[in-house]
Amino acid sequence: MTKQVILGAHFPGVNNTTVWSDPRSGSQIEFGSFAHLARTAQAGKLDFLFLAEGLRLREQRGKIHDLDVVGRPHTMTVLAALAAVTEHLGLVGTNQSTYNEPYELARQYSSLDHLSGGRAGWNVVTSPDAFTGENFRRGGYLDRADRYARATEFVQVARELWESWPPGARAAGEHEGQSARTGDAPGAFAHEGESFDISGHFTVPRSPQVHPVIMQAGDSDAGREFAAHSADAIFTRHTTFEAGREFYADVKRRLARYGRAAESLKVLPGSTFILADTEAGARERAHYVRRQQVSPQTAILLLEQLWNRDLSSLDPDGPLPDFDPEPEADSIIKGRARLFDDHVATARKWRAIAQDKKLSVRDLVIEVTGRQNFIGTPSRVASEINRHVQEDACDGFILVPHLVPGGLDDFVAKVVPLLQERGVLRADYEPGATLRDNLGLSPARPAASWARAREAAGPHPARSESAHA
């Protein structure tokens, strides 16, 4: 059976994928930029807009990182505003389970689901670092295992809150079965667990989706398992065809343990793209964009992250350092995911590539980091996207443009019609469809059913962590 391609639009992030030096680059914070990207995504009949989140400005060598785009809005607030300028597009935010509390965040997502007519989605992330915690009253460090334990319970509590009102109950008016006694007030809940011991009344009646769509971002073993037992979709970095197929098979295989069908969890890699009218033109454009993304200063900074030491005197147009990294020292970079597993081995590999291809520091960084995933004519990119989906490397992609706000314009104008012609992307939205409907997900499963399935499966045997989470 032909699968439908799921497409999300990632608002360009706070990192060097986003090009700010281009004359077409607009504001990273004005609402108009968000509205433009959302309207474009909706014009292209995409499934959702996706917002990432970072709660502390990155620092390197104790100073705020100043080379990349920085500054972003509060996730839920800008999504609620975007609900006013779109009618069908899903609105997916990223929020920490570490620096939030279930009552407050569940209330915000339920509110967003009401205010958008059933279009809310929550990408659950867990933060490892006390660095970010310095901005929060509940700041502090959770080790990796505890992070996912807290995240699992957090989502479970949220589901319990989301269904704490009886079906069909309204905000005001008599409720069926309600008597004069206080104990019968709607929204009563009580949860007692390892991470949370809370009780009382939730203020929000059931929202259109009841449970907003739950996504999880993280490719580690614990992250994959979390997706298998608690999420509707997983946002991954595995974008190449072969790695994608392997990841897809692994994640879908895990679902059986929890009694879930393969199609109940969608696999969505983040993916960049470069379009041009000819293949040669696309390659040329890709190289131009890479040079914009990797300025001489950015190249040195990335090398410092691998070497874990000051390399500010290094010539970006010269050769790589001839000494090895200092991975044992305290990390010089704060506020972003760990990039490298084995610093010494990676450095030696990079040195070999640079010597082999006679590359400068900057050219080497361009060569080995963040290459665009789809480069080519619209027809080629449409075919590649469809091939990945039909041959089970994924269920769709979260597209990451490199320009604000027009980075998705070409894709929607040129690639979307080709996917529609192939019958793998909707020609129009179904009126009144929720995000859950658009993604081909079943109606929300009750909280108790999720909990029972996890309990029946028992503890997951932990495996070694992959490079990033």
Partner: protein
């Protein structure tokens, strides 16, 4: 209520409002209105209180009436008597509500003039999240956002957050030991003052010209114009800077509803606007003098608080109709409405006269709480506003601008961190 003699101000031409004579007008939106039985009215829309369309319509009505701002009430719990475990004999009163900041953000792009002021509690939330949420509301409304800061002492709400159970609450916490708010209101307001200070510092943690996009040096941002705020207090420490650039207004107007001297102190320390609940013109004058002395004891150096009186209003074409409607609602609810603010029943003309009389006590304006929505909201925008315009105290057209400008809260505030670095690198 007898109609007092009209003040002389009515001699002004329509739309010509002299300085210092402008009366500011806001409405407080909450569910189906402020009467607990409002949802039973034939024109109420109790089934739509959770929809965007409901709030969009109310905001459009406020904007049509040229109102200065709307407030959106909020609470992290059901109505007080339910949460505190007491008996509540009245079934069916409005209980469900959505997050006020998100309602505000949802209606911001649909409006262009009216200020939007959601309530956010200072007790259970993170100042960092609240600061960025409100800054973002200011962006999506192009400078029309404000904040009603409110402590939440209800023990029922504390149980929603299960204090002390979080693993990061232990001694390893970066912020050190965290004090439990307890029942003491003084501590709730002290925490609220700390909270507001953090929110405000974070708004200033980016200088206005921090984003430089300097291709020559490869720098997007001038890091010398981003500031750690390094706040340390008994309830939280926050390092900063914000993740959100300084909001369009620089500092959003902050409002505090004050029934007590503690709340007035908090307002004098932290706010731009204070909502008062006088029962009479005499009491309005008395409360104003208490506000001024609170400003003195708080050593307030900024512009004096702009004071607004809250009034619950039931408005009809004749006085008896308004009174009978209010009584009918009371009967439907089984008890007379309990209210912290004075309840007015009468005509728009009578209300206009009363507002002018009370304003003389030194009030900047009024925040009217419609008894029932849409009826009393529409009587405010369609009957009261023309009465005030005819009296020359309310503009005939919208002047635009930011909420600060509109409320006369002074020029855009200077960034507290901008002067510190003065010397260029």
């Amino acid at each position: 209520m007898p109609e007092p003699a009209r003040p002389q101000r009515q001699q002004h031409q329509v739309g010509q409002v002299g300085p210092g004579e402008r009366l500011h007008l806001a409405v407080a939106l909450d569910g189906a209105g402020w009467h607990p039985a409002a949802w039973r009215e034939p024109d109420a829309r109790p089934g739509e209180i959770l929809t965007a369309g409901y709030w969009a319509d109310l905001a459009a009505e406020a904007e049509r009436g040229l109102l200065d701002f709307i407030t959106v009430e909020d609470s992290l719990g059901l109505p007080g008597d339910v949460e505190s475990g007491g008996l509540d004999s009245r079934t069916g009163q409005p209980r469900g509500r959505l997050d006020a900041v998100l309602i505000a953000a949802r209606i911001a792009p649909l409006t262009s003039h009216v200020g939007i002021v959601p309530t956010v509690t200072t007790t259970h939330t993170e100042p960092f999240h609240v600061s960025t949420a409100l800054a973002t509301l200011d962006y999506v409304s192009a400078g029309r956002a404000g904040w009603q800061a409110q402590p939440s002492p209800q023990p029922g709400q504390a149980r929603h957050f299960g204090r002390g159970e979080h693993p990061a609450d232990g001694p390893a916490t970066q912020s050190g030991t965290r004090a439990s708010p307890g029942p003491d209101m003084r501590r709730h307001f002290a925490q609220a003052a700390d909270f507001t200070e953090v929110v405000r510092r974070l708004w200033d943690s980016w200088e206005d010209d921090a984003v430089i996009r300097d291709a020559a040096t490869g720098r997007f941002v001038d890091r010398d114009k981003l500031h750690h705020i390094d706040f340390e207090g008994p309830w939280f420490s926050v390092r900063g800077p914000s993740i959100t650039p300084r909001p369009p207004q620089g500092q959003l107007p902050v409002a505090v509803l004050a029934h007590t001297s503690l709340a007035r102190e908090f307002a004098a320390t932290a706010a731009d606007i204070v909502f008062l609940t006088p029962a009479s013109v005499g009491q309005a004058a008395q409360l104003m003098s208490q506000v001024r002395s609170a400003e003195l004891s708080a050593r307030r150096s900024s512009q004096p608080l702009a004071a607004y009186a809250d009034l619950v209003v039931f408005l009809d074409e004749d006085e008896s109709a308004a009174r009978e409607r209010k009584e009918r609602l009371d009967r439907a609810d089984g008890a007379p409405q309990r209210s912290d603010a004075a309840v007015f029943t009468g005509t728009a003309g009578q209300l206009a006269a009363l507002l002018l009389e009370w304003q003389a006590a030194g009030l900047a304006g009024f925040r009217l709480r419609p008894g029932a929505i849409p009826h009393d909201l529409e009587r405010v925008t369609r009957a009261l506003v023309p009465e005030l315009q005819a009296r020359g105290v309310f503009p005939a057209a919208c002047a635009g601008g930011t909420l600060r400008e509109r409320l006369g809260l002074g020029p855009r505030p200077v960034n507290r961190y901008a002067t510190e670095l003065g010397a260029p690198a």
